[in-house]
Symmetry: C2
């Protein structure tokens, strides 16, 4: 039996890493990207069976992975020539809007929302890494178009990537990533903004590993991250308001005379130290 | 001429790393630590000429490095048998209180405030690394007891560590580190607190590298960091209030209908990407 043929639209860090991984396992992969330079890099890499335009890729692939920024995913779901029996999976960082758009696909298309929990500040096809997803959760979100075959293919893909498939509802997903992904992005950007607003270039000279790590995600593509956060604004605001309440309480403690420290700090440090993936 | 003999009180990550570096260059080093197990490790390491109690170390060393937590530095400055001609340098993370305490040393003692801008979440003598300071700024702060010899010895030590000596006033120092070191610690702890307060253990399961990096400093020793932040509370509060104003403005933008993104995000991302030591 011929192996299942995936096609990937969007050959950045995520799409490129999936392609590399599948190709390394001898599986056929088709690719598409709107950027001519990326298409050239993809062709030169030799890992694609073919690099096509998106409609031709949809026509030729049994399963299609939409690995573009979140706004483009909705647009592609609306406009590409999907056909019954086809499997569609995306890799966008928020899921409610994508899942709603998948619900409007033609009957018989099997669609699953996806979000591999792996990332880097680097981006683009040249940063792709077949081992990017190893050991990481690959979040899978059911839609009104999720067929048994689509669910099985999505899980199989997650395992081919070395990841752990983990099913959850779109609402749960978007709430959870607001806390562990979008809120850290907002605070990292705010730290950069605060240091920048001092107007003191010496701060960048003396800043050490603590500032570097705390602001690392601020180096991510701001257009891509901005789109993600705007698509999840209600949940990001809820998380941000909780964070503001915590910081305001701590400010009051530090502003007291004499200054006092938040009594929960030792417990929080222990929680962070006890986190197995934290090192 | 016999080489200058440094003695180090406090053999944790910082003191231990200085000791390793000096010993590797064939220089004599004395050590002291209040913890019996650390003293044993120090003796077993073979890098110390001798491991003594603090008064005996002060009597035997030409230069003394106080590498204890900030509260203990003040106590040691007040109580040890300092003698004229001796050089004293500390490595504490805030400088106004230490510099004030150095001003009360006996006449003729040459004292310089110091702060090597290097750190790790790991701690203790076993985490010491002779290359910890390489290429990093070693901040030096003048005191009313800074003699020409003490200044020259402090600069020489910084260079022996592979670091760049950089002089600044205590007030400038404490303001600058509030922004680039203490504020990132407070926000990292607040991110941990916010995630913990959701009561949802699944968040720790799916959290990826963004959350890991943003909260890495939260794994630092909370007693040590708490003491540092309390000793600099006024400057930390000023920085925290600036951060809160930024976050409140961004919350308002994200809460608008439709949500808008802070227009400065692309500029901030570019600033962070352009930071040479940020990778």
């Amino acid at each position: 039996m011929a192996p299942f043929r995936w096609g990937i639209i969007g050959l950045g860090l995520i799409g490129g890493s999936i392609a590399h991984r599948l190709a390394r396992q001898g599986l056929p992969v088709l690719g598409a990207d709107q950027d001519p330079r990326t298409r050239e890099q993809a062709r030169a890499s030799g890992i694609f069976e073919d690099v096509l335009d998106p409609p031709a890729l949809v026509a030729a692939a049994e399963g299609v992975i939409l690995a573009t920024p979140v706004g483009a995913i909705e647009e592609l779901l609306r406009t590409l020539p999907w056909r019954p029996g086809q499997v569609v999976l995306d890799t966008g960082s928020t899921k409610r809007r994508v899942v709603a758009a998948m619900g409007k696909l033609p009957d018989g298309v099997g669609a699953v929302g996806g979000h591999p929990m792996a990332g880097r500040e680097t981006s683009g096809f040249e940063a792709a890494d077949p081992d990017l997803f190893v050991g990481r959760p690959f979040l899978l979100v059911p839609t009104s178009r999720t067929t048994p075959e689509a669910a099985a293919r999505a899980e199989e893909l997650a395992r081919l990537l070395g990841a752990r498939p983990l099913w959850m509802e779109a609402e749960t997903h978007d709430r959870q990533v607001a806390w562990i992904s979008h809120l850290p992005y907002v605070t990292a950007m705010a730290l950069v903004a605060a240091v920048e607003a001092t107007g003191d270039p010496a701060l960048w000279e003396i800043a050490a590993s603590g500032f570097r790590d705390a602001t690392r995600v601020a180096a991510s593509d701001p257009r891509m991250m901005g789109e993600v956060i705007r698509s999840n604004a209600d949940e990001v605001v809820a998380a941000l308001e909780a964070l503001l309440r915590i910081l305001e309480a701590w400010r009051a403690a530090l502003k007291a005379s004499p200054p006092s420290l938040p009594p929960e700090w030792p417990r929080l440090a222990a929680r962070r130290r006890g986190w197995s993936r934290g090192a």
